[in-house]
């Protein structure tokens, strides 16, 4: 029983990360109709800026490095939106935008290698250790991940329901022409959304440093699994992203209690293919497949 709870807890922890990844690209998809294939590189970039430059090079305290990293990633997101998402989404085929974001991913990967070097590194004293809860040990990083995820979900919920820019984001996702007739500058709104997405990527990047270290491939797997989470939950839906993320995290973790661990990463993709075959709309009906 103890090991069950242990696995469940770990599953929820990773599940939260998949949630955030699914939300981060769902926001952009809803706003612009584009899938950001560079999203895992956004996550990696956030981690490199935070750990590589702000903490290790400039020796800033964590408490200062986090907001600065978020700010820089928001600016990076805005520039990416103005340079890539907005112009490419206006072209008459989505394939240009798909190629655009894939190329962006390549450029970011190579640029990161040039700036910070190919060797992985770690932040030695960044959220290490665990609390004991009876027999179950709760690692501090999973606890932090859960708290951060809940905080981000609450902020997003508040924004979408109560703020002018958030309600306008929902309108842009629903009907761009009608939104512009309300006076919404749709391009600006999309730029804001991509900036927000960049900030969530940055949070994910920082949170997974203790789990995966900082490396060029640190976010590839969670990027794919977060993508799977969105489809399993219902593509284009924020609640779907949450449900799908948690489901994949928990199933994957529980699996490692019964099956060979080498196949652990396969679980998410088996789930993904299963859902695509049997229930392509996902657990909560997706808007995309309408």
């Amino acid at each position: 029983m103890t090991s069950f709870f242990q696995l469940l807890l770990g599953g929820i922890g990773m599940g939260c990360i998949y949630c955030l990844v699914a939300i981060e690209y769902t926001l952009i998809w809803n706003a612009s109709g584009l899938v950001n294939f560079a999203h895992d590189k956004f996550i990696m970039l956030g981690a490199y800026i935070f750990a590589g430059t702000l903490v290790l090079k400039l020796n800033l305290p964590i408490i200062l490095a986090v907001p600065i990293a978020l700010f820089l990633m928001a600016i990076f997101g805005s520039v990416a939106a103005m340079g890539i998402f907005n112009p490419l989404s206006r072209l008459n085929s989505n394939i240009y935008a798909v190629m655009g974001t894939i190329m962006l991913a390549k450029i970011l990967g190579e640029a990161t290698r040039l700036i910070w070097g190919p060797a992985p590194f770690n932040l030695p004293s960044f959220v290490k250790g665990a609390y004991k809860l009876g027999e179950v040990s709760v690692s501090k990083v999973y606890l932090l991940i859960m708290i951060a995820t809940i905080a981000i979900l609450l902020i997003i919920e508040f924004m979408f329901k109560k703020t002018k820019v958030g309600i306008a984001m929902r309108c842009v996702a629903e009907d761009k022409t009608a939104a512009s007739l309300m006076g919404v500058n749709v391009n600006k709104n999309i730029t804001f959304t991509v900036a927000l997405s960049g900030m969530i990527c940055c949070v994910v990047g920082i949170l997974i440093i203790p789990v995966f270290n900082v490396s060029l491939g640190m976010s590839t797997m969670i990027g794919l699994k977060g993508f799977a989470a969105g489809i399993v939950g219902g593509f284009g839906s924020i609640p779907g992203a949450i449900v799908g993320g948690l489901l994949i995290g928990i199933v994957e973790s529980l699996y490692s209690g019964v099956g060979p661990t080498v196949y652990r990463d396969v679980v998410a993709f088996v789930l993904l293919i299963g859902f695509l075959l049997v229930k392509p709309k996902g657990i909560l009906n997706s808007k995309a497949s309408k």
Partner: protein
């Protein structure tokens, strides 16, 4: 107040409007009638900056708005209630109305007052305030779309096919509302309609569009008696 001068619009190589000139004065209700594909909606879209003319100019209160984007035209005070209502289906009635004030910098209190004002004008909407826009009936959606337009205190309200797809009794309600908006709130209205009879009945002046060209124009009371128009648009 609104002046459209010799406007040409192309979609690719197809010309949708040719040398169209239309004006709307203070306090007027002006309607544009014509068959499907005559260019009525294109005319509205060109005013809103959703399509841009290749020739001609559009001015509003003396300012040239020909090249403005839609969200900037809205800031000038021109509100367009598009064909098919285009309310936001997953937003509540209240949120839809709230979005109507996006272009304005109203305080919370002012927004609440404005919404209350719409509820007085459209009592049905008050009953439905927490329902999703998509769950309303066609007539209610049209009222919501008009109410949402009124939230921004328009200096000119443009209505595109407000009667489309509605039951005759609801159509009468809608036209009553249109007349009320004009007379009680002193808002000039530009109306595009396939229901030519209702449109001519309610407006002071009218334009007849045919294949992108202004075929006839004049006082609505004169046009409604015109034999050609009777034959083409009023069923005899």
């Amino acid at each position: 107040m609104l002046e459209i001068n010799n406007v040409d619009i192309f979609y690719g190589k197809a010309q949708a409007l040719t040398n169209v000139s239309v004006c709307v004065g203070e306090k007027e209700i002006v309607s544009v009638i014509g068959a499907n594909g005559a260019g009525k909606t294109t005319l509205m879209k060109s005013i809103m900056g959703l399509v841009h003319p290749t020739a001609g100019s559009i001015t509003f209160k003396g300012e040239n708005i020909t090249k403005l984007a839609a969200h900037d035209v809205v800031k000038q005070g021109i509100i367009y209630v598009p064909e098919g209502r285009r309310i936001f289906p997953s937003l509540t009635v209240y949120e839809n109305l709230f979005m109507g004030t996006y272009s304005k910098k109203y305080s919370k209190k002012e927004i609440e007052d404005k919404i209350e004002e719409q509820y007085e004008f459209f009592p049905k909407l008050k009953e439905r305030m927490d329902q999703l826009g998509g769950s309303l009936s066609g007539g209610e959606q049209q009222m919501l779309a008009i109410a949402r337009g009124l939230m921004a205190d328009p200096k000119l309200l443009m209505l595109d096919e407000p009667s489309l797809g509605l039951a005759p009794i609801i159509v009468e309600d809608i036209f009553k509302i249109i007349l009320d908006i004009n007379s009680k709130k002193n808002i000039p209205i530009m109306l595009v309609e396939q229901n030519a009879y209702m449109a001519l009945e309610s407006s002071s002046r009218a334009y007849v569009l045919e294949l992108g060209i202004v075929k006839q124009q004049g006082d609505a009371s004169v046009l409604i008696e015109d034999d050609d128009i009777k034959k083409a648009y009023l069923g005899g």
